[in-house]
Symmetry: C2
Subunit: 124 residues, 2 copies
DNA sequence: TCTTGTCCTTGAGTGCACTCGAGGTTCTAA
DNA sequence: TTAGAACCTCGAGTGCACTCAAGGACAAGA
């Protein structure tokens, strides 16, 4: 079973344009029908899922390109793939911690405003 | 006590250029010395801290501008301020959940690669 | 066959958040 | 007094990740 680009876009939850873009950027290599139209396999979709996961966690395209390049080669470079993912993992964890920290500040501010509101009401 | 722009930038952990930019964008209004040089008060620095917190949690500049506008007015609009912050809070929480979810995928992938390495087998 | 919708490529455009440069003024320390 | 650092404004430039448009080829149902 394989998929047209619009199927693939729907299933991956990204736009056709983004799929084109990812291919231009060397993140993806998709087989073609005799017509020249792209035919996505379920392996392609799984790989797009990984790309999307990496993007949504903030990995820049250039790093994704490096990773994609390694995956396209043989399995002798798995240690390098792990290295990229581990480095990324640490960045995500840091980002999560920062977000959580800043979220507390936002919530503190909300709490402050609510207190001001409550006091203003009892006064007037 | 007040601060020069370079002091303010250092204390806020952002660049002088970004401070100029934020002021151009209406996020910030700083008093001037007779020379025309900006003089940041500690209130300004606290406000810059809030701005930085909102930015680091992904609030777009245009929303920050709305919020800044409300803060510049009187306290009668505190409910609207709360509304902006609450909406932002929900977005941050969603983003955190998505990040956490995707982080698990990344970790799963790392685990997979490590298993492949341990077994000495090949597969992407 | 015809029509309408999907797909192709290439190159340009968009939006965001900075970031920089030029040309000039002001401050500060020797 | 004077050299050099810090500051000012304004407009342009940058990097990123898309996003779109034009002009043409291909596909599938009536």
């Amino acid at each position: 079973m394989n998929y047209s680009i619009s199927d693939a876009a729907t299933r991956a939850g990204i736009s056709i344009h983004t799929l084109h873009y990812y291919e231009r950027e060397g993140l993806l290599h998709v087989a073609r029908a005799s017509s020249g139209h792209r035919r996505y396999t379920s392996d392609d979709l799984a790989w797009i899922g990984i790309l999307t996961c990496l993007r949504e966690t903030g990995m820049p395209i250039r790093t994704m390109r490096e990773f994609a390049k390694l995956v396209q080669q043989d399995s002798s470079n798995i240690p390098e793939r792990i290295q990229i993912l581990e480095a990324h993992r640490l960045e995500v964890i840091e980002h999560l911690a920062a977000l959580q920290h800043n979220l507390e500040h936002v919530e503190g501010k909300i709490g402050f405003y609510k207190k001001v509101l409550a006091q203003g009401k009892t006064q007037s």
